[in-house]
């Protein structure tokens, strides 16, 4: 298990460390539900150094053409400095990863943020498809996510950038302690916020300075319950090489007729399922793999700190519709649930 640059900070804060994607990361510091609520109500921050930020240098026009062949979304959306959500599919239409792809005009370089568990797979995939001058920042830099309605106000005294120019899903240069960094107005919580990339050497001091502004350190359990409330997918749960991308909540990232990798295979695959929410009233903890009697399976579940009830995401046959009551087998019990629209929390 790899340690991140913030490992000693987490230990000093008394974090309960858990394994995730090949890394040892904070599961929680004191109370996962309180960390969750800090993000919903004020500001929290996460060590997301396990996420793989790779700069794609070299000729941008050439790289744009190569990238367009392997992403499903329209690479032109990254101009002039935007970040785009997309899938990377294999030839048979299976999801290799879901990534953010952006363009940094100052460096004339594309960049991609890869899920921790998929880093080596996707790096090999990029190389196999002709992308050169790949510059992974995996071991030299760290990403920190700062999320919540107060996230930007709280980070402003610490991180220097042109905040008024930083629109949602854009990225730009920033500074901390005379170090160049990169800031993106993005996140994985359903809240406004930023994700920043800095060299490892300054990251512990940055973390402490952000904490001094009242931004609460949050662990992976809060990150998971926040993204489930927001209906956001986690690779290995809502997305995988065996899940049809048309069964996910993101069919809009598939740009039909552009000849994207996997398109012809998907054209011949019927759409039979969709991704929905389940809301419970009985006390339980729905988990990935729990079967729904009427059909389908739970992909993620948690106890919602905001709604104070168990919630889950599920992939179910199209015959199951919003508003319907279903029964879920959870550890030998048969528990009623209502099918609801995602997300659970509207911001």
């Amino acid at each position: 298990m790899k340690h991140t640059a913030l490992y000693e900070e987490h230990e000093a804060l008394g974090a309960r460390m858990i394994p995730f994607g090949g890394y040892t990361l904070p599961g929680w510091y004191s109370h996962a539900s309180a960390e969750h609520m800090a993000v919903r109500e004020s500001a929290g921050m996460f060590d997301i150094a396990h996420m793989g930020f790779v700069a794609i240098r070299g000729d941008a026009v050439h790289n744009a053409a190569l990238l367009q062949k392997i992403v499903t979304n329209d690479i032109a959306k990254t101009q002039p400095n935007s970040i785009m959500y997309t899938f990377l599919l294999n030839e048979s239409g299976g999801i290799l990863d879901d990534v953010m792809v952006g363009y940094n005009p100052l460096e004339s370089a594309y960049y991609m943020i890869i899920n921790a568990a998929n880093k080596s797979k996707i790096m090999a995939w990029l190389e196999a498809h002709g992308l050169t001058r790949l510059d992974p920042q995996f071991d030299s830099h760290s990403l920190i996510a700062i999320q919540g309605p107060q996230a930007i106000a709280a980070a402003t005294p610490v991180i220097h950038t042109d905040w008024s120019a930083l629109n949602r899903f854009t990225g730009q240069a920033c500074r901390y302690a005379n170090q160049e960094g990169f800031v993106m107005r993005s996140g994985y919580t359903g809240e406004d916020g930023i994700e920043v990339l800095f060299p490892n050497a300054v990251v512990p001091a940055l973390w402490r300075d952000l904490q001094a502004q009242g931004i609460r350190p949050c662990g992976l359990l809060a990150r998971d319950s926040l993204r489930i409330e927001a209906g956001l997918p986690l690779y290995g749960h809502e997305l995988s090489e065996t899940i049809n991308p048309r069964h996910t909540r993101y069919p809009w990232v598939l740009k039909w007729g552009t000849g994207f990798m996997g398109e012809s295979a998907l054209n011949n695959t019927p759409v039979t399922q969709h991704t929905v929410g389940l809301r419970f009233t009985d006390r339980c903890l729905p988990r990935q793999g729990d079967a729904i009697r009427e059909g389908g399976v739970i992909t993620s579940g948690t106890l919602s700190p905001v709604l104070q009830v168990p919630i889950a995401m599920a992939m179910v046959p199209l015959t199951i519709s919003i508003g319907q009551s279903v029964t879920v087998a959870i550890r030998g019990r048969h528990i009623p649930a209502t099918v609801v629209k995602l997300p659970f929390i509207l911001r």
Binding site: R16, G27, A32, S33, R283, L285, R331
Partner: protein, 127 residues
């Protein structure tokens, strides 16, 4: 904790008159995080030393609870059904799980195999 005896599975047991109270240790609670669901046996059911009689569940994981002694369940902590966080807040008092009337034939052996608090502390240092 001087009166509690511990198992390697992180349960504790403590004499209470003719009966024994059973719960899980602070160490177990800290490993689980916030407990959100508890499954406990019915009053009158039999528990056997080393066998699972219930479970505690946090968002992180589900953990079986194994009885430190054999006997008959005479009481369960019904408050935990709607307030399982009591186990986090007070694992050795308000967070107790069940009360057992011990099997008189096995209770002496059952208790002898358990650890004192000091031994248990040394045991968890090795984990």
């Amino acid at each position: 904790m001087e009166n509690q005896q511990f198992t390697e599975d992180h349960e504790w047991v403590c004499a209470d008159g003719d009966c024994f109270v059973i719960g899980i240790s602070k160490y177990a609670v800290d490993e689980l995080g916030e407990i959100v669901y508890v499954e406990l046996p019915e009053i009158g059911s039999l528990v056997t030393k080393g066998d699972e009689f219930g479970s505690v569940e946090s968002v992180k994981t589900v953990s079986g609870i194994y009885s430190p002694i054999s006997g008959t369940v005479v009481s369960v902590n019904a408050d935990l059904i709607n307030a399982p966080e009591q186990i986090n807040q007070s694992p050795y008092e308000d967070g107790w799980l069940i009360k057992v009337s011990p099997d008189p034939h096995t209770v002496a052996d059952d208790m002898q195999s358990l650890m004192s608090y000091d031994d248990y502390k040394r045991f968890i240092d090795t984990l």
